[in-house]
């Protein structure tokens, strides 16, 4: 009876809807410009139209959410406004980016150097997992951390100016993946290794015995000094891990506060053929049916590190595997093989893991896990002496979702959302009942997904973004290299609705976080003379055009420059060939968006001078000649006239310009 009523309601509803739209489509179809005519002309359904309306931003209106998406190979972070899916900024992190002057001035060059191995400056990164700083397990909108999988380093981005302010490399690892994930009050930023290698970049043979003995992973816990807004390397520590190829991680919160959960996918310890006929890596790493979920008690680990039970490696305090096992810092639980996401529910009670080849999400129960640890109920130990907790006793249950579940986030109504990689869908399921309640198709090979604030203690539940790996035929063709793409999905209603497809033509966005816009309060300008990396007064800044000058010191020519529209002071810089030149450039502007730039002809020099900012550039004037310089960011009607000259006088026999 109930279903009859339901059916009737649906019939009436559908007929009504059809009638309403027929008024547009039929009655108004001939009147050009009406909704009905546009729909007819473009072949749009009502679903298309509501999607368009839900994402449209009238001019001047701000988006309600920020998404911070990893820029993949671009080495950058992409800032996107939701729901319009407009790109607001690429934040340069691991790759020099001329518009922002990133990697062109002395301070940001130093950032790249800080994140590089000895003797080389890396100029690209494989950006994977941005993580917003948290207070009480909610985003606080102050900082963003992100890792470079390829070179195992992390960066700190300030959301006051959306700029990279620090980069750290432990020099223990050669690659990382389980980063960045922050503890509930950003006490630590977790970065764990992925492809196992001897720690500290040392050499060891690649065979069974050597792999087992010398190859390792590690989880680095970077201490974040909130007052300074920077990582305190000296207060950071690491935990040595077996070479199981650690994958993603998540910090516990509330019920699981003090814990960190970390996946692995190669407990087989396969390393490929080794050049001696072993099965290839992808086969070898899937021989077993289970890998190990790493359960790390980070609070205890911090105590162990503080008590000095560490070994120093590459300047980092390291808790060895033996110590981690004996001090109860590290436990393993079997998990379905080749998992990707490990995701802590908003209340911190459930840990959701899904094996990429499984059809379920497996939900571990934090209380059960803690009890098993407290009572030392082990199913055994691994080859490195780490206790293994029994699988079935650790879980609350499993929820069958579909093929290839990969990554889970949550909404504010008790639902989990899991990407189904193999089926190319998003599944919605009830966290309490472990029952699937809906699904929506995505583009091809969905990887991660992001739900607004969906990995915090208080998910927002408005939007979901699917991060799809393949585009194939979904966009106008552009040759063999295709964009990855993001799809915005409205998850507020009982039925999910796809709203917007956004190709990303710049690297592969692996992971993203979505934050309510109200949490982020960026500066409009810097106080005059601010160094954008330290956020402190720059020692070379000037406050007034009258302080602009050229000084010759022991270490070369110092040029103190002022930028105020539309004039560069001094506008002639005379140096001798071979002299070291130090440009100290300060924008005296305080007007929002009155940004200048400065570039030197035929030189690798370009900086961005936002209002109040001071940038320093050091270079050797090795080529004689006259080099026009100009403001490289449009600033006023006389922007074209905002120029200067660099004259480099030859020291040898004159070649030109007597």
């Amino acid at each position: 009876m109930k279903s009859v009523i339901k059916y009737s309601a649906v019939v009436v509803g559908v007929v009504g809807l059809a009638y309403i739209f027929s008024q547009f489509a039929g009655g108004g179809a001939k009147a050009p410009g009406t909704l009905g005519a546009i729909m007819a002309e473009r072949g749009l359904t009502e679903d298309d139209v509501t999607a368009a309306v839900k994402t449209y931003m009238p001019t001047g209106k701000h988006d309600t959410h920020y998404m911070f998406a990893s820029g993949g190979h671009s080495g950058q972070i992409i800032v996107v406004g939701l729901p319009s899916m407009r790109i607001l900024k690429y934040i340069a992190v691991f790759t020099p980016e001329p518009w922002q002057g990133y990697g062109f001035d002395d301070d940001t060059k130093q950032i790249l150097k800080d994140g590089s191995p000895e003797g080389e400056v890396l100029t690209w990164g494989d950006v994977h997992h941005p993580a917003l700083s948290e207070t009480n397990a909610e985003y606080d909108g102050e900082y963003l951390f992100v890792n470079d999988k390829n070179s195992a380093r992390i960066a700190v981005v300030s959301l006051k100016d959306f700029n990279t302010v620090q980069m750290c490399r432990s020099h223990l690892l050669q690659s990382d993946h389980g980063g960045c994930f922050v503890t509930p009050n950003t006490e630590y930023i977790c970065e764990s290794g992925q492809l196992a290698a001897p720690l500290m970049g040392t050499y060891a043979e690649l065979d069974d015995e050597s792999y087992k003995k010398h190859y390792r992973g590690a989880a680095v816990f970077w201490k974040f000094d909130r007052a300074k807004g920077r990582i305190d390397k000296a207060a950071s520590f690491a935990i040595e891990l077996p070479p199981y190829m650690q994958d993603l991680a998540d910090a516990g919160k509330l019920a699981s506060d003090g814990w960190m959960f970390l996946n692995s996918f190669n407990t087989e310890r396969s390393y490929g053929t080794g050049g001696h006929g072993k099965p290839p890596m992808e086969s070898g790493a899937s021989q077993n049916d289970m890998d190990f979920l790493h359960v790390i008690n980070w609070r205890k680990a911090a105590e162990v590190a503080a008590a000095g039970k560490t070994t120093e490696m590459a300047g980092m305090k390291v808790i060895t595997l033996d110590t981690a096992a004996s001090e109860g810092v590290l436990h393993f639980i079997p998990e379905p093989k080749s998992p990707h996401g490990v995701d802590v529910s908003p209340d911190g009670k459930s840990i959701c893991v899904s094996g990429k080849l499984d059809t379920h999400v497996t939900v571990y129960d934090v209380d059960k896990v803690k009890k098993l640890i407290d009572s030392k109920t082990y199913a055994g130990k691994d080859d490195y002496g780490v206790p293994i907790l029994p699988f079935k006793e650790s879980i609350r249950g499993q929820c069958q979702l579909g093929l290839g579940p990969l990554h889970t986030q949550f909404d504010d109504k008790g639902n989990g959302y899991t990407s189904l990689f193999i089926e190319s869908k998003v599944a919605r399921w009830s966290l309490a009942d472990l029952v699937k309640t809906g699904e929506i198709p995505s583009h091809f090979n969905i990887g991660h997904l992001a739900v607004a604030e969906g990995d915090t203690a208080k998910p927002d539940g408005r939007y979901l973004v699917a991060l799809n790996k393949w585009a194939i035929d979904r966009f106008a063709p552009i040759g063999p290299l295709l964009p990855q793409n993001l799809q915005l999905i409205d998850i507020t209603g009982p039925q999910m609705q796809r709203l917007y497809d956004m190709p990303i033509g710049l690297g592969e966005p692996h992971y993203s976080q979505i934050c309510k816009a109200e949490r982020i309060k960026p500066w409009e300008s810097y106080p005059v003379g601010t160094n954008p990396v330290t956020h402190q007064p720059d020692p070379h800044a000037i406050k007034d055009e009258k302080e602009a000058r050229i000084e010759r010191k022991d270490d070369g020519v110092h040029v103190y420059m002022a930028f105020m529209r539309s004039h560069i002071t001094p506008d002639v810089i005379r140096v001798k060939q071979g002299e070291t030149v130090h440009l100290h450039m300060t924008s005296l502007e305080q007007t929002y968006d009155a940004t200048h730039g400065f570039c030197v002809g035929a030189h690798n020099i370009n900086v961005s001078l936002e209002p109040g900012k001071t940038s320093n550039v050091t270079f050797v004037a090795s080529r004689p000649g006259v080099f026009p310089c100009y403001c490289s960011e449009f600033c006023s009607a006389l922007h074209l006239e905002m120029t200067a000259y660099l004259l480099v006088e030859p020291t040898g026999p004159a070649t030109a310009g007597k």
């Binding site: 649906v10 559908v14 007819a40 899937s286 077993n288 049916d289 079935k392 809906g438 699904e439 198709p441």
Partner: protein, 430 residues
């Protein structure tokens, strides 16, 4: 509702009543006692007998219990009647073979350890030229696990898992990893998780019955296979082919795959496949093609299959190219063909298929419709955008949408596919 169930049951019964050339494997004659064997009395230490046996020896068990676990490290034949039981000690794999040239015949293996991370199995094999015939496997986590082996014959075994254990917590019935030139034939696998071939090329999977599991047979990077005469019933997926090529699926039954992601045949990024004379019946999705054929040099041929009573007969996800659909019967599917993401299937080759919703005629009586079959579905378009509407398939509401769509052109209905020479009568399947 009731009448629909009767029609459905009738159709299914009709399909299943077709004469089958295949023997039911469970009725297979148990392997005969080999001649010249040495008797191992029940209760004896089987492990000690095996250690003491000369390579090539034949050991015969009698009705009764034998303590496991046992490890065989030399060529050996171990035979027993069905009621000779090798009992697990609830740890490790119960019968482990680490040698070439071993034969396990006829007896029962009861139980195994329960550590999924260690692949605890009733029978674990690492070796070449192995024969596992007529075993009965009960109460184990994994059934038969074969690692890094070749020329392994797994025939007429009866492997039963516990259907009360949630799917995700079960082990695989049969699992081949890095295993080649092997035969999986006439086994009955019930209530286990998967029959899995991983990185295992050049194998044959024939005449098995796999029921109530997850993947009836799952090919993962396992090419050059033959899958013939199997019956897959009540699994999440009948056969899933992933990242593999050169596979022939002929004369199988894939039915009752109705759960989440349920499909008779699923294909992801694979190619050079032939699906011929299969019965793909009463699944959520009959055949699902995801980005397949994958390589431009590959094709997929789907011929003479019966595709019936599925919610969706064939679902394409960017796979609408280099495929032939010839002489298939589409009957009683709520949606014959669904194309995800707004495309159509007009660029695959539809030839001489029978569609039970064909509204044309055959005036010249040549057995083929005189006008093309063309699928233009309003509902399909809606459902591909809103999968939850699939719930209303066949309901009045969707009917109204279809009707309203024709009266008031809300949106231009897409042409999903065209078969220019549809057959009037059905004759697909086996």
């Amino acid at each position: 509702m009731a009448s629909a169930a009767v029609v459905l049951a009738g159709l299914l019964a009709g399909i299943l009543r077709r004469p089958s050339p295949l023997p039911m494997p469970i009725e297979a004659v148990p392997p005969e006692r080999p001649t010249g064997g040495t008797c191992v009395p029940p209760g004896a230490s089987l492990a000690a007998w095996i250690d003491g046996a000369a390579p090539g020896a034949v050991l015969c068990l009698s009705a009764g219990e034998y303590a496991g676990p046992i490890v065989i490290r030399k060529p050996l034949t171990l035979w027993g009647p069905r009621d000779a039981v090798v009992q697990s000690a609830a740890t490790d794999s119960t019968v482990t073979v680490r040698s070439n040239g071993v034969r396990l015949l006829g007896f029962t293996v009861d139980g195994s350890g329960d550590r999924p991370e260690k692949l605890d199995a009733a029978v674990l094999v690492v070796g070449d030229d192995i024969e596992i015939r007529g075993l009965r496997v009960r109460h184990s986590l994994f059934g038969i696990v074969v690692d890094s082996s070749s020329n392994v014959t797994i025939v007429s075994n009866d492997i039963e898992g516990d259907r009360n254990v949630p799917l995700g917590l079960r082990g695989d019935g049969i699992r081949l990893w890095e295993t080649k030139q092997s035969l999986v034939k006439g086994n009955r696998v019930s209530g286990c998780r998967d029959v899995l071939l991983q990185y295992s090329p050049n194998n044959k999977v024939v005449d098995n019955v796999v029921t109530h599991g997850r993947y009836g047979t799952h090919f993962m990077y396992s090419s050059d296979a033959v899958v013939r005469g199997n019956r897959y019933l009540g699994n999440t997926v009948g056969v899933f082919v992933m990242y593999s090529k050169n596979i022939e699926l002929t004369e199988n039954l894939m039915g009752g795959s109705v759960g989440h992601g349920g499909m008779g045949i699923g294909v992801k990024e694979s190619g050079n496949l032939v699906f011929r004379r299969n019965n793909v019946v009463q699944n959520h999705t009959g055949i699902y093609l995801d980005n397949s054929p994958f390589d431009p040099r590959e094709t997929i041929r789907t011929e003479e299959n019966l595709i019936a009573l599925n919610q969706t007969g064939i679902e394409f996800l960017a796979s609408t190219h280099r495929s032939d659909f010839r002489r298939n019967d589409f009957r009683g599917n709520q949606e014959q063909v669904l194309v995800d993401g707004g495309g159509d299937a007009r660029h695959v080759n539809w030839e001489e298929n029978h569609f039970d919703d064909y509204r044309g005629y055959d005036l010249d009586k040549d057995g083929y419709g005189d006008i093309p079959y063309e699928s233009r579905s309003y509902a399909s378009q809606l459902i591909s955008q809103r999968p939850e509407l699939a719930f209303f398939r066949g309901s009045a509401a969707i009917g109204v949408v279809e009707a309203m769509g024709r009266v008031f052109p809300l949106f231009q209905p897409r042409s999903i596919l065209m078969d220019s020479r549809p057959r009037m009568n059905a004759e697909g399947g086996r």
